[in-house]
């Protein structure tokens, strides 16, 4: 489906220090099917526009995410692999050539639970914002080819007035200055991305004239929403649950973590159905990837607290068994992150005598030269959590860790 892809061609694009439009991007010569491994954000945008114009089969990702084994796998699957290299790039032919599948776009999953998998989409299935939107200049900090990247890119490609300012990975820490210079008024990022920005230079962030802030890609806790609300009291602050498999399935605008329990098992035409099986979030979504229609087990753990369904983390890592009592790492992380002198927290289980595992944490203080001490944080948690959930060993880190996916794997 290529309908609508012309509509945004005259939108402004700022990438690699240059201002242009979608229409003015250079025209790459891409085979079909092609796996395009990009090192420069401008090349990724050009490949996306090429797909929008010609419907060629495309897998787009940053070169850093693909190792030699994945390259070989892609060539075995019939892709011509094009990527950066000495001399301006190189092309490897498919091992088993096959006809292209017109209109097919492939995404690689984030691989947070193993090797990245390919999920089939189309430009149509990735375009989830269809209503007319107020004119915005969007920041795009995401790695090329990820679901979140495509969300921002399809919005700008398909709707007039949706401009784009792309941040390269090595510019990430300076994005507020770039965004302020180019009038960015809407930005989407992971909670780690927002926490890191608040932590590094909250004053620079406050100078960006944001009217829309979006969080997604990781569990969203109340603390980060409240901190952003303090900086941007009049902006719309939304969080989105989205993945390559089920697409954008939950959108919450009320400034609160989690979503209302009344949304569970609600069936509305054209809207995802959210369910819980045991402790796992199950989604039936119209925005799903190819072959993923019907209920999809997300692997994400949920807990209902005070009428809200909180997504606390991955099922295989969120639950810590402390002497037979279950602890949600996500809920403990939320308590720590709500401490006024904590900028970021990671909570894990550690092997311990008698109990099997104990809750431990790593914390980045808001003021590194005046950090809270362990006893203060333990007391903070003890006042808000049952005894067995209180982290007893809390290590201070100097900087919020972030990966290319803008996540910390908390």
């Amino acid at each position: 489906m290529i309908v609508g892809t012309r509509a945004g061609l005259d939108n402004r694009i700022v990438v690699g220090g240059s201002v242009s439009t979608w229409r003015e991007l250079p025209e790459p010569a891409l085979p079909s099917p092609a796996a395009v491994l990009t090192a420069r954000p401008a090349d990724a945008l050009a490949a996306a526009r090429h797909h929008a114009a010609y419907g060629t089969e495309l897998l787009l990702t940053s070169a850093a995410r693909v190792d030699q084994a994945m390259r070989d796998e892609l060539r075995e699957a019939g892709f011509t692999v094009t990527g950066p290299g000495s001399g301006g790039g190189h092309t490897e032919p498919p091992v088993r050539p096959r006809p292209a599948e017109p209109g097919r776009l492939w995404l690689l999953t984030s691989g947070s639970t193993g090797r990245p998998k390919r999920v089939g989409h189309t430009l149509d299935s990735l375009t989830t914002v269809r209503g007319v939107q107020p004119a915005r200049t969007w920041l795009c900090p995401y790695a090329p080819g990820t679901y979140a990247w495509w969300q921002v890119v399809t919005l700008s490609l398909t709707q007039p007035g949706q401009h784009l300012v792309v941040v390269d990975g090595d510019e990430l820490d300076e994005w507020p200055a770039l965004a302020a210079a180019h009038g960015v008024d809407a930005a989407s990022g992971t909670p780690t991305f927002w926490r890191r920005t608040l932590h590094r230079d909250g004053a620079a962030l406050a100078r960006v004239p944001l009217r829309q802030l979006t969080l997604g890609g990781e569990p969203v806790d109340q603390a980060v929403l409240d901190q952003l609300r303090e900086v941007f009291p009049a902006a719309r602050i939304s969080w989105i649950y989205a993945s390559s498999e089920v697409g954008a399935s939950i959108v919450v605008h009320d400034g609160r973590a989690g979503f209302p329990v009344e949304w569970l098992d609600r069936r509305l035409p054209g809207r995802p159905t959210l369910s819980v099986d045991g402790e796992e979030l199950v989604i039936t979504s119209p925005h799903h990837g190819a072959g993923l229609d019907g209920p999809v087990r997300t692997g994400d753990r949920v807990q209902v607290v005070d009428g809200r369904v909180l997504i606390t983390g991955r099922l295989d890592s969120d639950e810590i068994n402390v002497g037979g009592s279950k602890v949600s790492a996500g809920l403990v992380r939320g308590v720590l992150a709500a401490h006024p002198r904590v900028a970021w927290a990671r909570v894990t289980g550690r092997r311990a005598p008698l109990l099997g595992r104990m809750v431990v944490a790593e914390v980045v203080p808001t003021a590194p030269d005046d950090p809270p001490d362990e006893a203060e944080l333990v007391r903070w948690c003890a006042g808000r959590l049952p005894d067995h959930a209180v982290p007893r060993r809390i290590r201070l880190l100097p900087e919020i860790p972030v990966k290319e996916t803008l996540k910390s794997d908390v």
Partner: protein, 83 residues
């Protein structure tokens, strides 16, 4: 192995209690139940010993049930470091 002295382990035990606003008595014969030193506290102390030595303790060693006093905790962790 970087073995901790009994005095050092006592300091760590004192920190565990201090983090909860409690004080470790000087008397090694003090009863753990009376000072409120529970399994969570014992586990935390073991982690502190591991962090201080940089080595994992072997908790499969027998004898855990006989621990009733402050001195028992110190004896046990001293012994455990040598196994």
């Amino acid at each position: 192995m970087n073995e901790l002295s009994r005095a050092h382990i006592r300091d760590l035990m004192s920190q565990v209690l201090a983090n909860q606003g409690r004080v470790l008595p000087d008397d090694d014969a003090a009863d753990l139940r009376e000072i409120g030193f529970r399994s969570l506290d014992f586990s935390e102390l073991a982690l502190r010993v591991e962090d201080a030595t940089g080595e994992e303790l072997n908790f499969d060693a027998p004898g855990l049930r006989r621990i009733a006093t402050v001195g028992d905790v110190l004896d046990f962790l001293e012994t455990l470091q040598r196994q």
